[in-house]
């Protein structure tokens, strides 16, 4: 077990493409860090740099106290779970688990003990004699986990391990991986593009965009105080509504608008913070026309086109509202729920929060 320290990591591909630009991040021992971002944001590249599968163009990477920049993956004391599992198709499950230990010349008895222990833990003990192709997707996923587990490494690296599973299994495996990681207390780096996975699994969340860190923080910090327009739009489902400041000023949107900091020209409101009805004088008050009501079980999503601008806004309310499509409705949100942004820089205008200071530093170094 060990901490992982990234200091100003850069990755430039042969063609001059910048995949990772100045990422600095300290991962504490036993922490579960989730790297999240859209495809092409550099999250997988970053993970593969930690694994040693991609060379590091510049910067320093430490696992524990050791600088591992130039070490082979096998010498970094890490284990990796791949997206398509990458199980050895011609080996039995037992040998798949044992292969890494055999290569490291562990004694036979020790290999056997570890393999059986991991198989017990992952409930794949009955399949030890089977070949990977005789297993279901979920079982293969477990074998891939097992292969990482038996190594008892300093860190686990997960590269979108659940993206090949169906939705139900994904939720189940998500819970299991998280429980397992907490129980073992192994430092983990987990890459995903699924923001729900990111929110539920992470101790801390790292939002990447275009090879730079947008924000680092606990899932709830990131959700409650997104540091940039990008994070605000990426984390949370349905996505945060973004309303132009000029529109709010022009449309008599209530007292809340006057309290926004200087330089704000874009205001974000989560669909959960909006409600239908007239708000108080201090609230943000809007009017619009209902375009569609989408019942989603315990809650409903209402799509409203704002009066005057026809910008679509999503409102999330509990239960099923008694609203007809085409109805004109007032909607409101409390003052505290507004996220003020500067359109130019994409950052918040109401001051940095400590969690994202590192991100800002990284951003400046990257620029």
């Amino acid at each position: 077990m060990a901490s992982i320290t990234m200091d100003d990591l850069h990755k430039v591909y042969a063609g001059g493409v910048q995949a990772v630009t100045g990422v600095s991040l300290d991962i504490a021992d036993g922490e579960m860090i989730v790297l999240v971002g859209p495809s092409g944001c550099g999250k997988s590249t970053l993970l593969r740099m930690v694994a040693g599968l991609e060379t590091i163009t510049s910067g320093t990477l430490k696992i524990g106290e050791r600088v591992v920049n130039r070490l082979e993956p096998a010498d970094r004391d890490i284990a990796m779970v791949f997206q398509n599992y990458a199980l050895y198709p011609h080996m039995t499950v037992y040998n798949n688990l044992a292969y890494g230990l055999k290569n490291r010349r562990f004694p036979k008895a020790e290999i056997d003990r570890r393999v059986r222990e991991a198989a017990e833990m992952l409930e794949i003990a009955p399949f030890l004699d089977r070949k990977p192709r005789q297993l279901s997707g979920g079982q293969r996923q477990r074998v891939a986990m097992g292969r990482a587990l038996v190594r008892e490494p300093a860190a686990f690296l997960f590269d979108e391990p659940l993206s090949n599973l169906d939705a139900k299994l994904r939720v189940q495996m998500r819970v299991e991986i998280r429980q397992l990681q907490k129980r073992l207390g192994t430092t983990s780096l987990y890459v995903t593009h699924d923001q729900l996975e990111a929110l539920t699994m992470a101790d801390r969340l790292v939002v990447l965009n275009g090879g730079v860190i947008e924000q680092v923080g606990t899932p709830m910090d990131v959700y409650r105080r997104p540091a940039s327009v990008f994070v605000a739009g990426f984390i949370g489902s349905p996505a945060m509504n973004m309303i132009d400041m000029d529109y709010l000023r022009a449309s008599d949107a209530g007292g809340a608008v006057d309290h926004l900091p200087k330089g704000t020209d874009l205001v974000g409101i989560r669909p959960d913070d909006l409600s239908v009805g007239e708000g108080g004088p201090e609230a943000l008050r809007l009017k619009g026309e209902v375009v569609l009501v989408e019942p989603a079980g315990a809650e409903s999503h209402i799509y409203v086109n704002l009066a005057g601008s026809h910008q679509p806004i999503t409102v999330r309310i509990p239960g099923l509202p008694d609203l007809a499509e085409g109805a004109r409705v007032p909607i409101h949100a409390p003052r505290e729920a507004l996220h003020p942004f500067d359109r130019e820089t994409g950052r918040r205008t109401d001051g940095a929060d400590p969690a994202s200071a590192g991100a800002r530093r990284a951003r400046m170094q990257g620029a």
């Binding site: 990458a86 199980l87 890494g100 292969r147």
Partner: protein, 282 residues
């Protein structure tokens, strides 16, 4: 088949039976001819029913050969052919699988250039480069030796190309997983790539073995010592050698025997094929 027409089925079967008959008939004639006494063929009529001298003919071929015409007993030639075919097959397989491994998994300078150089040799079969190759082999003193018989035929662009194509389909994550698991390049090759290519190896083995076994022109050129005659050459010498009429009954017996090893190889390798195929299907 979508249509289940009775006449259609009949027609299809007729065509297939006709095709099989055309392919099998010469083989049948060869087997029949090998069972007749020497005199039968002088009359100029091919017999279509088995004769009575089968054992006798085969016995002669195996023990004596046709000594007067300079053809040694067949066993030695079969052995020579076998050695040559095996050397060519194993040589081709090991060299091509290693070069494909290098081309696919290593980034060295002029990688693509070397690949195309190998690929270009596809256009130069033995017959085209036979004179320079003979010159080289003669200068190296490899005439009348197994080395001379097999080494010039070992380089194979076809096999290299096929292995390359196969390696490209092996997911890259497998190599990465092996790297994380502490396997170096050769260990990855031995533990993962080789077992995965076993069906390809088996298929190429069959093709290459038959290719080696059937070599005719090259052995004819570089061997003058009967100790290095291959069976295919032996047949040729049996037909043209000596002043008398070709002894067709003995020639045919030799032909039948010469066809056996490739058939055996196919039968044996077929089991490996099927095993490999069913394992991938699961």
């Amino acid at each position: 088949m979508v249509e289940n027409n009775r006449w259609g089925t009949l027609f299809a079967h007729l065509i297939l039976i006709l095709g099989v008959a055309i392919v099998v008939f010469p083989v049948y004639v060869a087997i029949i001819a090998s069972t007749h006494p020497p005199g039968t063929f002088v009359r100029g009529v091919m017999p279509l029913w088995p004769g009575t001298h089968g054992w006798e003919n085969y016995w002669t071929v195996i023990t004596e050969g046709r000594s007067r015409a300079g053809t040694p007993p067949i066993a030695g030639m079969m052995w020579n052919s076998f050695i040559m075919a095996m050397a060519i097959t194993i040589g081709k397989l090991s060299i091509s699988i290693l070069s494909a491994f290098a081309i696919v998994y290593f980034r060295f300078p002029f990688r693509i250039f070397f690949f195309w150089i190998i690929f270009l040799t596809l256009m130069l079969p033995v017959e085209v480069r036979i004179v320079p190759t003979f010159q080289v082999v003669a200068n190296l003193g490899m005439l009348n030796s197994f080395a001379g018989l097999s080494i010039p035929l070992i380089a194979s662009a076809t096999a290299t190309f096929l292995f390359r194509q196969f390696f490209m389909t092996v997911p890259e994550e497998l190599m990465e997983a092996a790297r994380v698991d502490g396997a170096g390049p050769m260990k990855f090759f031995k533990d993962i790539l080789l077992p995965l290519s076993i069906t390809n190896i088996a298929a190429l083995f069959v093709i290459m073995f038959i290719y080696g076994w059937n070599q005719y022109l090259w052995p004819l050129l570089i061997t003058t010592d009967p100790n290095y005659y291959t069976i295919v050459m032996g047949i040729q010498r049996m037909v043209t050698g000596g002043d008398s009429e070709p002894l067709w009954h003995l020639v045919m017996a030799t032909v039948v025997l010469a066809a056996l090893p490739p058939v055996l190889v196919i039968l044996l390798m077929q089991r490996l094929f099927v095993k490999g195929l069913t394992e991938t299907e699961k």
